[in-house]
């Protein structure tokens, strides 16, 4: 019935309808019961009255004294009295014009025909009530008995409207009570309905966002409820979390794959360049060894040599060689880096928090780790806002060396984070664009992980380097 209507309206409307229906049913039952009671009262009082009247009527009937019978029945108000003789003819009535003497009851219309049939069928000597909805009156028939024989019947007719004022009175009271109850219950119904439906509506709205909007934009807070709706909300939130994780993971995979591809490309190119480069460098040194050069040639040679050296450096930088022989990392190595970074930090008026938790040598080669520390901390110092904060912590955690570096400044977008570790990507003027590339290559070569998180103006790097595999 409500298939097209939102639950938000359907539930309260259904509740209201249920309340209305209930009060209608209760009201009808109450009115019906009062009606029955009124009817019984009427019947009882009629029989009492009729029994008194029949005592006088017996004498009048036996003496054929119409006038005495008439005077007995005369002042009846709205009631109709009819005395039927043993041949079912009207002996006397208090309304002689309407119920003429001697006429047969059945000839007075269908209402009386039905009454007559009922009287004929009623063989016992007890009074009875004759009522039909279509009739103008209802009738109480009281047998007039003399010496155990029914000599006549006294019929007392009441206008059916006799109930109406009572019933109207009861109906209006029931109606008023119902209205008061409804006035209380319907707002409660709406409140309960909304309370039930609102979480569903929120959930449905959040669900419809899945797929069309970024997962981070989906705002949904499950209610602290343990019922079915509460559980549904919790499940939905769990699903969103899982989706987010999956999406993150996919993003990371893409980034690392891209970086791996770039790495392979860079290494290939570097090798191809290094071979002819070595040749050219050899040629220059050979040329120099065989006799003195003229000043012009010497100047050219120096230019060539310098250019080739720069190419070599660049290529070498691309070809990050982490596995250099070096001693194990000591706390002093970390402190050395601090010294180097501190001067730059002071120049910018930064607050540098350096948390070195190493208390002895770790089975990690010091040089590449120092380079990672150096790169990350310098990067942070450069990225930090003027008079900002830079925090660095180094600690061994569960077989890992964990390095955390963070700085305040601007928030880096997710898109930028994806490209952060690519070579020659300049984020600042003056940088080579290779610092983070090298860091990334070193970490990967040690089988470690690097995480970036940027939020609310704070960008953090976290590096995990496995200790044992590094040995």
């Amino acid at each position: 019935m409500f298939g097209r209507i939102s639950l938000r309206y359907e539930v309260p409307i259904s509740l209201s309808l249920a309340i209305l229906l209930t009060s209608l049913v209760i009201g009808s039952v109450l009115i019906w019961r009062s009606y029955e009671e009124l009817r019984n009262d009427l019947f009882r009082s009629s029989v009492e009255l009729g029994t008194v009247l029949t005592r006088t009527l017996v004498t009048a009937l036996k003496h054929d004294d119409v006038w005495q019978a008439y005077q007995t029945l005369r002042s009846a108000g709205f009631k109709s009295y009819i005395v039927l003789d043993d041949q079912q003819r009207i002996f006397v009535s208090n309304q002689p014009k309407q119920f003429p003497m001697l006429s047969e009851l059945r000839t007075l219309g269908p209402e009386f025909d039905a009454l007559q049939v009922d009287i004929d069928n009623h063989v016992s000597l007890t009074p009875f009530l004759h009522e039909r909805l279509e009739d103008e009156r209802l009738y109480v028939v009281i047998p007039i008995i003399d010496d155990g024989i029914r000599i006549a019947n006294l019929v007392i007719g009441y206008p059916r409207t006799i109930y109406r004022p009572h019933l109207m009175n009861i109906a209006s009271r029931v109606g008023l009570t119902s209205l008061i109850v409804i006035a209380f219950l319907i707002p409660i119904g709406w409140w309960v309905g909304n309370r039930t439906v609102n979480p569903l509506v929120q959930l449905s709205r959040a669900m419809s966002q899945v797929g069309s909007e970024p997962l981070d934009d989906i705002k949904y807070k499950p209610l602290g409820r343990d019922d079915e709706i509460g559980k549904l909300g919790q499940s939905f939130q769990a699903m969103i979390e899982e989706l987010k994780e999956k999406q993150n993971l996919e993003g990371q995979v893409i980034v690392s794959e891209r970086l791996a591809a770039i790495g392979r490309l860079a290494a290939g190119i570097a090798h191809e360049i290094n071979n002819p480069l070595g040749g050219m460098m050899n040629a220059i040194s050979t040329h120099r060894r065989f006799g003195p050069l003229g000043p012009e040639t010497e100047k050219t040679m120096i230019l060539l040599e310098r250019g080739l050296k720069q190419i070599h450096e660049t290529v070498s930088a691309l070809l990050v060689e982490a596995r250099q022989e070096s001693h194990d990392l000591t706390p002093e190595d970390v402190e050395d880096v601090r010294l180097l970074v501190q001067s730059d930090a002071q120049k910018k008026g930064l607050r540098l928090v350096w948390d070195n938790k190493l208390d002895g040598p770790l089975s990690l080669p010091s040089t590449p780790v120092r380079q990672v520390l150096m790169n990350l901390s310098l990067n942070a110092v450069q990225a930090a806002a003027e008079a900002g904060n830079v925090t660095l912590s180094v600690a061994p955690v569960d077989g890992l060396l964990e390095i955390r570096v963070s700085n305040d400044g601007i928030t880096v977008s997710n898109e930028e984070i994806g490209k952060l570790f690519e070579p020659f990507v300049h984020h600042r003027p003056g940088g080579t664009g290779l610092g983070l590339w090298i860091t990334y290559q070193i970490v990967r070569q040690f089988g470690g992980d690097i995480f970036v998180h940027s939020e609310h103006g704070t960008t953090s790097f976290m590096v995990h380097l496995p200790l044992e595999s590094a040995a």
Binding site: D64, D65, V66, W67, Y70, P96, K97, P100, M101, L102
Partner: protein, 301 residues
């Protein structure tokens, strides 16, 4: 009520003034018992009370009115001498002339005469005479009433109808004012009533008589008389008659007569009831009880 009280107090004083020395005297006078029938509006108790006091003062003896439902009961009481006098209909009077003596006859509209009216409900506009009421329901006042029984039955006989079967049903209302009521309320479709009662009711309660229509008025008959038992001592009859005949000459008597819608009482004579007597004879002849009843009547003549 106010009216009755006004009269009540001086009358009471008179009763005390006159009655007490009599009671102190040697003999307690016997009570005069007067039978009343509904030949007049006998349901007006206030008038009866005043009339009783009026008579007690004049007669210097206690008076008691005796009322019964039927004429027959009063007649029987009179014949049994349980009561000394009664106001009855002319019909029982003519049937019992040997035992009864005329005491006084009321004057109505200056004459000791009245009529019987044939009435129908005012809603009945078609009935022109008694013949039109064939097969209808008819109300008589009393089987011993001239105007409320004998007159319409004689009328039917004269028209050739059998009064016992002419109407589909008849009943007795036992009083003329109830006949008017029965017709007015439609219990009966026709009725015979004492014309004097109808006229008086017309003055007092026009709302009742208006609901009836007079179809026919009979010829004049002797007005219902006050009678005594023939065995009542002559001096007692004389003093009673004197009181009755003097009523119109005394202010309180005249006031009472006005209340009764009468002009006074006269001594009257039995000839006044010849009309009724003829009707009785006619009916008896018609009933083929002629011989026996003729002898009875001849004897009384």
């Amino acid at each position: 009520m106010v009216y009755s009280l006004k009269l009540h107090i001086p009358l009471l004083c008179l009763v005390l003034a006159v009655g007490t020395p009599a009671a102190v005297g040697a003999e307690q006078p016997s009570t005069l018992r007067i039978g009343l029938t509904p030949v007049f509006l006998d349901n007006k108790l206030s008038i009866l009370r005043i009339w009783k006091r009026y008579l007690e003062i004049r007669l210097e003896r206690p008076v008691e009115f005796v009322q019964r439902q039927t004429y027959r009961e009063i007649t029987d009481l009179l014949l049994a001498r349980d009561i000394q006098t009664a106001w009855i209909c002319g019909f029982p009077f003519v049937r019992n002339t040997r035992e009864l003596t005329l005491l006084a006859v009321p004057l109505y509209r200056g004459q000791p005469l009245y009529r019987s009216y044939l009435i129908v409900p005012a809603t009945d506009e078609s009935t022109r005479n008694i013949s039109d009421l064939r097969g209808k329901i008819f109300v008589y006042s009393d089987p011993d009433s001239n105007s409320g029984f004998l007159v319409p039955r004689v009328g039917l006989r004269r028209l050739g109808y059998n009064p016992d079967t002419f109407f589909s049903r008849t009943f007795f209302a036992w009083a003329h004012h109830d006949v008017v009521m029965a017709v007015a309320e439609g219990v009966a479709q026709g009725g015979a009533v004492d014309g004097y009662v109808w006229d008086t009711l017309q003055q007092l309660h026009p709302e009742i008589t208006q609901r009836t229509r007079i179809v026919d008025k009979s010829r004049l008959f002797g007005f219902p008389p006050l009678v005594v038992h023939s065995a009542l001592p002559e001096d007692e009859v004389r003093s009673l008659r004197r009181v009755m005949l003097k009523m119109q000459d005394e202010p309180d008597g005249a006031a009472l007569l006005r209340e009764l819608n009468l002009d006074g009482f006269i001594a009257g004579n039995t000839d006044l009831y010849d009309g009724i007597r003829k009707n009785v004879l006619y009916m008896n002849r018609a009933k083929r009880n002629v011989w026996q009843n003729q002898l009875t009547l001849r004897g009384t003549d």
